[in-house]
């Protein structure tokens, strides 16, 4: 059987920069530049923008221009002196599951440096009020006809994506981010609570009604509140209390992440099992991401490279697909061993723990000396 749109021999992640402009008018052609961190770099991370933040500053529209100049890696598809637009096109795939849109917006390609390079440019104008939920723009280069690869290699059919770069993700609200952005924090007495276990440091409610899941911290644990509220000025030699706070920060963060990721991975595997039960031949599990609650999605997206067995996931869909394809034993091993180790290594928990043990030893030594 023929596999249409086969993965091309030449498929490139080409370098590009993003220019973001914003306007306070819906009609005038007056724009001001908006500085987006890492807009001048091409990495695995998305270019992410939050519409509500811009709207709060009085902006009504945003304009996204992606420019790629220099080698794209796709030049081998062109014969000498040919116009790249004869065989390929550059543009944005616009995708939103919230407003149900999936369309293509064409940009421009042209030969540069006497045909040595292809330069690409595409612009997309967006009314910020039109952003509901997540809105994705993926800059791609596609084949506009059947293309032959270099001699001896597989060619591609019309519409095949032969080049891609960073995805632009515009969120209505709720930015993804580190632990600090993902949760609402509440200090409560676990003794007086009917849903938290007495003696635990924290509890997590992933089904909370608000915009974020809630991380409950136990105010009954002696000194816990005092230590966690120690100001961290991040300069100079830290006091023992601040060292303790930093260590607790790391320890709690690791435990919270491990617990949350275990919960969502179990949900993912259970949804995958349901799908296999309905259709034994089911093999597309990326869309399980869409079945998760908003809080679970936020965790999967924000910590996708901790949740995944591999660490270069572009989005929540890809990590859901990976987890769903694992055997129950592999999931269990990942949750109990490799994932916590990876989280700890990233959070530098071992280093932090060593620091506080050293502090304790120094204290003992000084007391002995005294």
């Amino acid at each position: 059987m023929t596999r249409r749109g086969s993965t091309p021999f030449l498929q490139e992640i080409f370098k590009a920069v993003l220019l973001v402009e914003v306007s306070k008018s819906l009609v005038d052609d007056t724009w001001e530049q908006f500085d987006l961190p890492s807009a001048d770099q091409t990495t695995w991370e998305d270019w992410t923008l939050v519409a509500d933040g811009l709207k709060a500053d009085g902006f009504l529209r945003a304009r996204f221009t992606v420019v790629s100049e220099g080698k794209t890696g796709l030049e081998a598809y062109l014969s000498k002196a040919s116009n790249p637009e004869d065989v390929m096109a550059f543009g944005f795939i616009e995708l939103s599951t919230h407003v149900r849109r999936r369309t293509f917006h064409k940009g421009h390609l042209q030969a540069a440096s006497s045909g040595k390079f292809i330069s690409a440019r595409a612009t997309f104008d967006l009314k910020l009020d039109d952003v509901l939920g997540d809105f994705i723009l993926e800059p791609v280069i596609v084949a506009t006809s059947d293309l032959s690869g270099p001699k001896g290699h597989v060619g591609v059919t019309t519409g095949t994506i032969i080049g891609t770069t960073n995805i632009i993700r515009i969120r209505e609200k709720n930015p993804e981010g580190p632990l600090g952005d993902i949760f609402d924090y509440q200090w409560i007495s676990f003794v007086n609570s009917n849903h938290c276990a007495e003696g635990e440091l924290f509890d997590i409610d992933l089904s909370a009604d608000g915009e974020k899941p809630v991380l409950y911290l136990n105010e009954d644990i002696e000194h816990f509140h005092g230590i966690m509220n120690t100001p961290d000025n991040k300069t100079g030699k830290p006091s023992r209390k601040l060292s303790a706070r930093r260590t607790l920060d790391s320890a709690v963060a690791v435990e919270v992440m491990t617990q949350c990721l275990a919960t969502v991975s179990q949900k993912i595997t259970s949804l995958a099992a349901e799908r296999r039960e309905e259709d034994s031949e089911e093999d597309e599990f990326g869309s399980i991401f869409d079945e998760l609650t908003a809080h679970e999605q936020s965790i999967v997206e924000g910590w996708r490279n901790f949740l995944g067995v591999t660490h270069a996931h572009e989005n929540g869909q890809s990590v859901c697909a990976e987890i769903s394809a694992l055997s129950p034993l592999a999931v269990s091993n990942h949750l109990s061993s490799s994932m916590p180790r990876w989280i700890r290594s990233q959070a530098e928990i071992e280093i932090a723990a060593a620091r506080i043990i050293n502090n304790g030893l120094q204290a003992d030594e000084s007391e002995d000396a005294g």
């Binding site: 059987m1 249409r4 749109g5 091309p8 791609v140 059919t157 597309e284 869409d290």
Partner: protein, 250 residues
């Protein structure tokens, strides 16, 4: 004395749907943005009666989908964000469309007082934000999605029958995946996928059902979508890809 709790947030699961049906919870009234709720209630009541009289499901759903899509036009114009609001759809399903939703999807439900474990069919009355699968399975939202797809395709509802009279496998494969986000692609998929016929058993080969062939077809289409930008293709190019794939299904 009523002990019900008012809910103005998305219902978490089918258990909460059951609580609403039992009257333990009520849903907050929503802003109607100029829609004629009486007309919607009348259409839902007519549909419920027709279901009781064993009128074909496709016929009942088609008429209701058109009224729903037409009556929500003011919202599309003035407050499109409402159509993205899970609370709006759950309210529609559990208030004006309650009897229709129950008759259409939960006709085998025992007496509410006897239900302890909520059946999975109640999941048809709840929604997950941004989930194409959840939206395509919701008792009311699905009708709107089908009508909207046809309307965006050619400005009419003439192709609604293609969706609502098709084998249930096809709307599931199209609208419970991102394939249904493009009206052009969705319509082409219905045209090609509905043409599969079963192959009879022979001495050398077993029989193959049309459903089995369609599943293989959609598997190949999803593979295609992983490397080809179907958004870029013209209708002619999409149809050619799909018919070529269908021709390869044994």
């Amino acid at each position: 004395m009523s002990t019900s709790v008012e809910v103005n947030r998305p219902l978490r699961d089918k258990g909460e749907v059951l609580q609403v049906l039992k009257g333990d919870k009520t849903l907050s009234a929503i802003a109607l943005h100029g829609i004629d709720i009486k007309k919607l209630e009348a259409a839902a009541l007519k549909a419920t009666t027709e279901l009781a009289n064993s009128v074909a499901l496709g016929t009942v759903d088609k008429a209701l989908a058109i009224v729903l899509h037409e009556e929500l036009a003011p919202i599309r114009k003035s407050a499109p964000g409402v159509l993205n609001d899970v609370v709006f759809w759950q309210w529609l399903a559990l208030n004006p469309f309650r009897e229709y939703s129950l008759a259409r999807w939960c006709s085998d439900l025992p007496l509410l007082s006897e239900i302890v474990e909520p059946p999975s069919s109640l999941g048809r009355l709840t929604l997950t934000s941004g989930s194409v699968k959840s939206h395509a399975r919701h008792s009311v939202r699905r009708l709107y999605i089908y009508a909207e797809c046809c309307y965006l395709y050619d400005g009419s509802y003439q192709h609604l029958g293609k969706i609502l009279d098709a084998d249930q496998d096809i709307p599931g494969a199209v609208f419970e995946r991102r394939l249904g986000l493009s009206p052009l692609l969705a319509m082409a998929l219905f045209d090609v996928a509905s043409q599969f016929t079963p192959t009879k058993k022979t001495d050398s080969a077993p029989s193959i059902s049309a459903r089995t062939k369609r599943r293989e077809f959609f598997k190949q289409v999803n593979l295609l979508g992983s490397t080809v930008s179907v958004e870029f293709l013209s209708e002619v190019e999409i149809v050619k890809y799909l018919t070529d794939i269908a021709a390869d299904i044994p």
